[in-house]
């Protein structure tokens, strides 16, 4: 990979992050190639949105339809808002991405996972929740957008996390 | 959690409340006297291995008010701190035998 490509990829990933010290990054050729291969720009704008609707609009530009084929596994009461285990699985086919949204967090979008062909649409992660909130998972499949939501109660807020 | 505050807590609160109401308008001397008494009581609580964080906080508040020249407030805080320290002494003393009431046997 040439230096030109390298720095172009860096700029893509780090837009807005300002000056970056490129020291001790010995392993970068793989990383940049991997990130370039993902062919996905980090959705900086979507991560700044303050409502479910704005996240969905910024990230996908279409509306989501609730589906019982999207299964979200989340606790009723989070043991601590700093670490809430949440996972998704779906029987939908041709899934290209999934995303997790927490309506009451200062920034609603938590994570977006890009699912290439050959990777199953099952993802688990641990998220922060500031307070009791609706949690929504979006599944992009066959060019359409599906969703499932659940309220998770939080008694100890996770913004301290 | 209703049962977590046993009767002795009421006693402690009464002890504390009685002492607070005794506060009076104060000069710097009043403050110094009250502060010294509070510190002495808190030191005794320390010997009993039972100081309260609230005593330390109230002592600090008293000192802060005194530094700002508000001796009324400083004296009142010092007296409150003394009451808290005395309540902690009472607690430590009575618990010397009362702890057995809770024991699993």
């Amino acid at each position: 990979m040439s230096d030109v490509e390298f720095s172009a990829t860096r700029r893509l990933i780090l837009q807005g992050a300002g000056a970056v010290a490129l020291i001790g990054l010995g392993n970068l050729p793989f990383l940049t190639s991997a990130l370039a291969a993902a062919n996905d720009k980090y959705p900086e704008e979507a991560f700044k949105q303050k409502s479910d609707a704005d996240v969905i609009k910024t990230l996908y530009g279409k509306t989501a339809e609730p589906s019982d084929k999207v299964k979200m596994d989340a606790p009723e009461i989070a043991e601590n808002g700093a670490v809430v285990p949440i996972s998704v699985s779906t029987t939908l086919t041709d899934v290209t991405s999934v995303a997790f949204l927490v309506s009451e967090n200062p920034n609603v979008l938590i994570a977006k996972y890009n699912i290439p062909a050959g990777t199953l649409p099952n993802v688990a992660n641990r998220i922060k929740m500031a307070k009791t909130s609706n949690v929504t998972v979006l599944v992009e499949a066959g060019g359409k957008l599906y969703s499932a939501s659940k309220e998770v109660k939080v008694t100890v807020g996770g913004c301290g996390g | 959690m209703r049962n977590l505050m046993p009767k002795s807590a009421l006693v402690l609160i009464l002890v504390a409340a009685g002492a607070i109401s005794a506060s009076a308008a104060g000069s710097e001397d009043d403050f110094k006297t009250a502060y010294a008494a509070a510190e002495a009581a808190n030191k005794e609580a320390g010997k009993l291995r039972n100081q309260w964080t609230t005593t330390a906080n109230t002592l600090a508040a008293a000192k802060k008010a005194a530094d700002a020249g508000d001796f009324d407030k400083a004296t009142a805080s010092a007296k409150e701190a003394e009451a808290l320290a005395k309540a902690s002494i009472f607690q430590a003393t009575s618990e010397k035998t009362r702890w057995r009431e809770m024991e699993i046997r």
């Binding site: 606790p75 009723e76 009461i77 989070a78 043991e79 601590n80 700093a82 670490v83 809430v84 285990p85 996972s87 688990a124 641990r126 008694t155 100890v156 301290g160 996390g161 | 959690m1 049962n3 977590l4 505050m5 046993p6 009767k7 002795s8 807590a9 006693v11 402690l12 009464l14 002890v15 320390g46 291995r49 039972n50 100081q51 309260w52 964080t53 609230t54 330390a56 808290l84 309540a87 902690s88 009472f90 607690q91 430590a92 003393t93 009575s94 618990e95 010397k96 035998t97 009362r98 702890w99 057995r100 009431e101 809770m102 024991e103 699993i104 046997r105």
Partner: protein, 288 residues
């Protein structure tokens, strides 16, 4: 018995007077120190209170009392948050001191699989030695500065030593020595003594109310609570030692904590560990 109810009913002043009297009486008149009976009663109390929880599961703290929590814990245990601390502990444990010796030189069996024997009563010194204290003494004996008892390095070392001892039953011994019995009894007294402005004892939360929520936290049962140490608490966003647990418990009830490893803390650990004898070591643990 009469004395006890009298105190209960007496006014503050009167009870103070009575107590002065009481303290001059031999305090163990009716209460001969009997650790074996204590441990039996302690286990019976918890197994009666939570008939569905298996004895060995009490070491899993609040997770043993609540299904929703249990599931979240299982999810977390797939890749537990104490993983990094554990690795750091393993690395630290094998790295030689400046004099070339290692922690292994200070412990029986090279420190592997020995967590269940701590704390122990040292007859020479006449006091209780905890694992945390033993680790710092090991450092000092080898010319190294001791670690803070409440910080990450101590948590990492004890996490590793607990991990190598997982599943081994807690095995605390009380030698036939009046000083050992006195230390045990002092630990028990500390455990049940109410303190702080909130007037809570350790037992208020961890005997009377395990499984219940206090503010937002679910309380752990006292039985087996030490078997899981050290712990990664989500609330702390990090690891905590037994020392950290004791001192923060004290400040939460508005009591000024003692210094880590003061007599009372070592003794209460001795007491709690002894009454949890037979339950497996499960540390390092993860807690809300």
């Amino acid at each position: 018995m009469k004395l006890r109810s009298a105190i209960y009913l007496a006014s503050a002043a009167l009870s103070l007077a009575l107590l002065t009297l009481a303290s001059t009486l031999p305090s163990d008149a009716a209460d001969k120190v009997d650790p074996v009976a204590d441990a039996k009663a302690f286990k019976k109390f918890f197994t009666d209170k939570f008939p569905k929880v298996k004895l060995e599961d009490f070491v899993n703290g609040p997770y043993s009392m609540n299904e929703d929590l249990y599931k979240q814990w299982q999810d977390k245990e797939q890749f537990p948050p104490y993983e990094f601390s554990l690795e750091m502990g393993k690395e630290m444990f094998s790295k030689p001191f400046k004099n070339g010796k290692t922690y292994a030189d200070c412990f029986e069996n090279g420190g592997i699989g020995v967590r269940q024997n701590y704390p122990y009563f040292d007859a020479k010194e006449g006091k209780v030695i905890t694992l945390e204290l033993a680790l710092n003494r090991c450092r000092e004996a080898n010319g190294e500065a001791p670690y803070s008892y409440v910080r990450d390095e101590m948590a990492a070392l004890t996490a590793y030593m607990a991990f190598t001892s997982r599943g081994k039953p807690m095995d605390i011994k009380i030698p036939d020595d009046p000083r050992a019995l006195a230390a045990y009894e002092n630990g028990k007294e500390y455990f049940y003594t109410r303190r702080g402005q909130l007037n809570f004892s350790c037992a208020t939360c961890h005997v009377q109310s395990p499984g219940e929520r206090i503010r937002a936290e679910i309380l752990a049962p006292a039985l087996g609570i030490v078997n899981a140490m050290p712990i990664y608490r989500s609330e702390w966003s990090g690891m905590g030692t037994t020392s950290r647990r004791f001192t923060t418990c004290n400040s939460q009830i508005r009591g000024v904590p003692l210094s880590p490893q003061d007599d009372e803390y070592r003794n209460v650990e001795y007491y709690l560990s002894y009454v949890s004898n037979g339950l497996p070591i499960s540390g390092p643990g993860a807690r809300p």
